[in-house]
């Protein structure tokens, strides 16, 4: 077996083996991923209770549904390349990736997917527990459920491509943590992690739709909770596709420019 599939298969085996060695650490990271939506779930449920049961189209059990699904979708689309590249470039380990006859993005992609496979079981257990504790409302229309997987995969692709491109900012600045922070704060609000987008001020909602944030996480969540009409869903999928293409174009351009900068200075 030759070709890129072979590389993926081997890289997958190596990464999985490595991650299994670090399962305790990964477990601890996962707790963070469970806690964040849980906190917002509780807070918004309290808000709903304080205002007589409903807030902007959500009651407590709908908030529960929203944040539990949000937790899973966030996990599936999660990327950490931005932190990784700052480290790699600072320590010169990017040189090895540049010496190989394949593009480094393949390794990163496989890394990402294999770690998800390890954490997803834990996440599903957590989701199950939360469902028992908070009794969320959940009744997606059949067509929405059918579109969910493609929407989710597109969301992951958009997020990965955008964040991989942003990670390359490490070629130009040492203050990548500032870039990272700015990005993650924006993502917190605009991708629906802090609150359902429909609860945000109108200007922020527009921003979230014009920027890729909504299409990275919020859209699949909205879809499966049955909060979108078929027309809106179709438009959303189109938006995801558009952002994916735009992202790939930018990725290629930024990568070329970045390697140019890197090979002027070296490490």
């Amino acid at each position: 077996m030759t070709g890129i599939q072979d590389v993926y298969r081997q890289q997958f085996k190596t990464t999985l083996a490595s991650f299994i060695q670090y399962r305790a650490s990964i477990f601890i990271w996962t707790i963070d991923r469970i806690l964040e939506p849980l906190i917002y779930l509780v807070v918004w449920s309290a808000v709903a209770r304080a205002t007589g049961g409903r807030v902007g189209g959500f009651d407590a059990s709908q908030f529960a549904g929203y944040f539990i699904v949000m937790m899973l979708v966030t996990q599936v689309t999660y990327t950490w390349v931005m932190y990784e590249y700052e480290y790699k470039i600072r320590h010169g380990s990017l040189s090895f990736a540049l010496l190989r006859p394949i593009h480094p993005i393949h390794t990163d992609l496989v890394d990402n997917i294999s770690s998800k496979l390890i954490t997803l079981p834990l996440m599903l257990v957590a989701a199950f527990v939360l469902v028992v504790l908070f009794k969320p409302a959940f009744s997606p229309p059949v067509w929405a459920a059918a579109l969910f997987v493609p929407a989710l995969l597109l969301a992951f692709a958009v997020k990965f491509v955008v964040e991989w491109t942003l990670a390359l900012s490490a070629f130009w600045t040492t203050r990548v943590s500032a870039v990272n922070q700015g990005y993650f704060v924006a993502a917190l609000f605009l991708s629906g992690q802090m609150a359902p987008l429909s609860l945000l001020p109108h200007s922020l909602q527009v921003a979230a739709s014009l920027l890729p944030f909504r299409w990275m996480i919020s859209f699949p969540v909205e879809l499966i909770l049955g909060r979108l009409s078929p027309a809106q869903a179709a438009a959303g999928l189109a938006a995801q596709g558009a952002w994916l293409c735009l992202g790939l174009v930018m990725l290629r351009a930024v990568w070329r420019a970045g390697v140019r900068v890197y090979s002027a200075v070296g490490a």
């Binding site: 807070v43 309290a46 203050r175």
Partner: protein, 258 residues
């Protein structure tokens, strides 16, 4: 105490050369604060109270969150991270052979001076929030606040020592300290909001409640003396447990590395 000042000076002088880091830290803290307050703004655009808490009271809570968080990130966190590293690499030996108490030494060995910005920002936020509340802070409120902070501080510090000492037994968990940092995020909101099981966890398992909510309750004039007494009791208990764990841990370490 003198030792603390020495380490502080060393850490400060080392960093003072990097003015750029100060601005970066300021920016970072400002963004974090903005995020927290922004979240508050969105939540309170829909309601006027949250579980009995007024917006400005929750803002004061955020201030306490930054204050205590800043103090932790100033000394406790960097020193404990350094401890983990020195256990892994065996350089703890150097500390153990010094004539001062090893627990004290490892607790103050590293100072991230620029995290003071968090501390200062926290105080600023508390001040502004209290002014807006028009709160009359009498002697008991202030004393309660100070007491709650001290008790909370001891509790959190002891928890960190216990957590870091676990590395004497489990070497492979490099990010064990992240447990506190992740769960501490829950302290941005009043713990009283959370369901009972979570509240208990945040009080006794990972003592975030005593770090943020309890002092904030004191500021809001809502602190019952039972809670305060409980805080002190827990502080004393945890302090001794931490000391015990430290002693046992270092004995194990010395035995293991011989």
């Amino acid at each position: 105490m003198r030792l603390l000042w020495v380490f502080f000076r060393i850490g400060a002088l080392g960093e003072l050369a990097y003015r750029a880091n100060f601005f970066m830290q300021l920016l970072e803290s400002a963004i974090e604060l903005g995020t927290a307050l922004g979240g508050l703004a969105v939540v309170f655009s829909y309601t006027t109270t949250l579980g009995g808490w007024l917006p400005d009271e929750v803002a004061a809570l955020v201030g306490v969150f930054f204050l205590v968080g800043g103090a932790i990130r100033l000394i406790v966190q960097p020193s404990m991270e350094q401890l983990l590293e020195s256990v892994r690499e065996g350089t703890l030996d150097f500390t153990l052979t010094k004539p001062e108490d090893s627990q004290v030494l490892v607790s103050i060995q590293r100072v991230e001076i620029w995290k003071l910005t968090d501390f200062v920002l926290g105080i600023a936020v508390i001040a502004v929030a209290l002014t807006r509340l028009g709160a009359r802070l009498g002697f008991w409120e202030i004393a309660g606040f100070a007491g709650a902070l001290i008790a909370g501080g001891i509790i959190v510090y002891s928890f960190w020592v216990i957590l870091a000492s676990l590395s004497f037994w489990f070497v492979r968990v490099e990010n064990i300290l992240v447990i506190f940092q992740s769960i501490y995020e829950a302290g941005r909101w009043p713990v009283t909001l959370y369901p009972r099981w979570l509240r208990i966890g945040l009080t006794f398992l990972v003592p975030v409640a005593f770090a943020t909510t309890v002092p904030a309750q004191a500021l809001a004039g809502r602190l019952s003396w039972q809670t305060l007494a409980g805080a002190f009791a827990l502080a004393v208990l945890l302090f001794f447990v931490a000391r015990l764990v430290w002693k046992v841990g270092t004995r194990r370490y010395s035995g293991a590395s011989a």
